[in-house]
Amino acid sequence: MSAVDTAPQAAQAAATQRIEHEGLLEVRDLRAYFKLREGDVKAIDGVSWSVAEGESLGLAGESGCGKTTAVLAVLKLLPENGRIVSGEVLFDGKNLVKRTEYGMSKIRWKEISIIFQGAMNALNPVQQVGRQVAEPIMLHEGVSEDKAMKRVRDLFELVGINPSRVSEFPHEMSGGMRQRSMIAMALACNPKLVIGDEPTTALDVMVQAQILELIERLRRELDLAFILISHDLSVMAETCDKGVIMYAGKVVEQGATEFIFANPLHPYTKQLIRAFPNIHESREMARSIAGNPPNLLNPPPGCRFVPRCDEAEPACFERDPDMVEIEPGHFVRCLKVS
């Protein structure tokens, strides 16, 4: 474990110089590939976005578009066969790509925490929920268990669980309560940035509304930056300031959510928005987006969406479009728009 030996010096060196960048977290041209026997799967292929303090960003797209991989790369939690190939992850003046494993362990959960999708699988079934929430506090702040448990009670109060339930096991709680305790755990060390990876997907509509309202309230009270990963565009529309639409490892459109929904420019965004029923509008059913996302092992040249695009032109098959700024802060990657 050479990383651990050299860690203190490296961490110090990284901490001394502050890199200037946009917002709290900025991802610049990040590429992350997975190694398979057949070659590299280009799961993230040149992604850039940023989140400012107190801002909420939504990452949306179909399954397999790379939205989860993008945040795992930010936290350097990619599985063993995954690696960051190029690009920068700038968080609070530090380049996380250059950080050692030891340096990352000081950031994970202390400054960036994550709420996972299935709270049943993310919690340890044989440990009391309260102790699991206390663990990061004891680890990062070196306080005693008693002190940590006191904090846990306050956290439970904050997320709307009766503090007397700290000694319950995950199976004694309902899905909504488990997700609330995951949120308590994410807030345990007062992080600056919280990432929610499909935090409400497995929940009922009413519980989903409760959890989203809770996240919204906490975000305002604690001035948190929040990244919401969701396949559900309508959830993103209701909760996020900025949106990033991803397709096949690339960002196809990004900007303020009002811009994206009022004036969607990329054909993929348009079709995706249409796929969601809107009960306040006319009751007609949109077509599904035909076809499947491309194989990212050897993505075809040209625009990656072209086989499924209903507005494609011959040029789209040859040239990969660049990101173009259409209106301030609203970027689109499509030849037809530029």
Partner: protein
């Protein structure tokens, strides 16, 4: 609107005194415009308690999953059963197939009481009533080819044993389920197909016997949004072209709104509101329906709408609250709601809701 009639109560005598035989099911016709007529159906499950507790407790405890519900389904209709988990929507669907025995009330299929079906009649009935499950990854056998999966109902029900006829019917079913050209799919295995295609295989397996009714239990919940609509459209196509009746079980009211003709909103084992889809969504009368509609996320950030977020969670169906079972969470409750159980109030057309405020 002073009219506060309740929905029709069960007729006293059923036309069948004895058991229903296979022949009766084969010959049965829809006479009164009702494919299914469910009257005061109850499905209770006994609660398992420890031996000691069972010895000292005097009354048996029940999970009241479905608690006296009544509705009818016309042939060629899509009825959506909507509600949160634990509201009894899946149990209702399973009871209609007799995968779960109703512990009370009556279910009439084409006028025949389902409760009295003999073994042969039940086999005959199950050719006519099919189910599609939520997860197409777990509901089909990974070791069978698509042909085997779709042809299995044909051999099991003894409809045909001729390979040739089986193939013809399987090809037709696959094409009706949108897998074209069907011969390309016959000898593939499930792992070669995407989630949407697997769900189509499940649908093909359900329609291969030309059923009257298909119970679709959250058929699109595990599919990506981009392919959901095609599966839903398939259901509407079947309804229109093949005359299949669908019972669409979902927790997502917006999906129900897109394809169903009528919506029944369930809460804790009861239907709290039922009516034409457009009417229920545009003009909900029960506070629970209102709340459910208000929390549906809208894919448009410019549209700021009021959310009525209910506090707490659905209570345990072992200890159902007194009076109106929704009263502890109801934003519009009155003192009497804790005492009196509301009856269904007719709101015009096919629209009924069970709330004391309407009475």
């Amino acid at each position: 609107m002073e009219e506060t009639q309740t929905r029709e109560r069960p007729a006293q005598a059923t036309p069948f005194a004895g058991t229903v035989r296979a022949d009766d099911v084969r010959k049965a016709q829809v006479t009164d415009g009702k494919l299914f007529d469910v009257r005061d159906m109850e499905v209770y499950f006994p609660l398992r308690e420890s031996f000691f507790k069972a010895m000292i407790s005097t009354e048996k405890k029940w999970v009241r999953a479905v608690d006296k519900i009544s509705f009818a389904i016309a042939p060629g209709e899509i009825l959506a059963l909507v509600g949160e988990s634990g509201c009894g929507k899946t149990t209702t669907g399973r009871a209609l197939l007799r995968l779960e025995e109703a512990t009370g009330g009556e279910i009439f299929y084409k006028g025949l009481p389902l409760r009295r079906f003999s073994g042969g009649a039940l086999r005959e009935y199950r050719k006519k009533a099919q189910i599609i499950f939520q997860d197409p990854y777990n509901s089909i056998n990974p070791k069978q080819t698509i042909f085997d999966i779709v042809a299995e109902p044909l051999s099991v029900s003894g409809v045909t044993h001729s390979e040739r006829e089986k193939e013809e019917r399987v090809v037709k079913a696959l094409e009706d389920a949108g897998l074209r050209p069907a011969p390309d799919y016959l000898y593939r295995y499930p792992h070669e197909l995407s989630g949407g295609q697997r769900q189509r295989v499940c649908i093909a397996g359900a329609i291969v016997l030309d059923p009257d009714v298909i119970i679709a239990d959250e058929p699109v919940a595990s599919l990506d949004v981009s392919i959901r609509n095609d599966i839903l459209k398939l259901m509407v196509d079947h309804k229109e072209k093949l005359g299949v009746t669908y019972i669409f079980i979902t927790h997502d009211l917006s999906l129900a709104w897109v394809i169903s003709d009528r919506i029944a909103v369930m809460y804790l084992g009861r239907i709290v509101e039922i009516g034409d889809t457009e009417e229920v969504v545009a003009n909900p009368q029960h506070p629970y329906t209102k709340a459910l509609i208000s929390v549906i996320p809208v894919p448009d950030p410019r549209m700021k709408h009021e959310h009525t977020i209910l506090t707490g969670e659905t209570p345990n169906p072992v200890a159902i609250p007194s009076g109106c079972r929704f009263h502890p969470r109801c934003p519009e409750r009155m003192p009497e709601c804790a005492e009196r159980e509301p009856a269904d109030v007719h709101l015009g057309g096919t629209h009924y809701a069970a709330c004391l405020r309407l009475g």
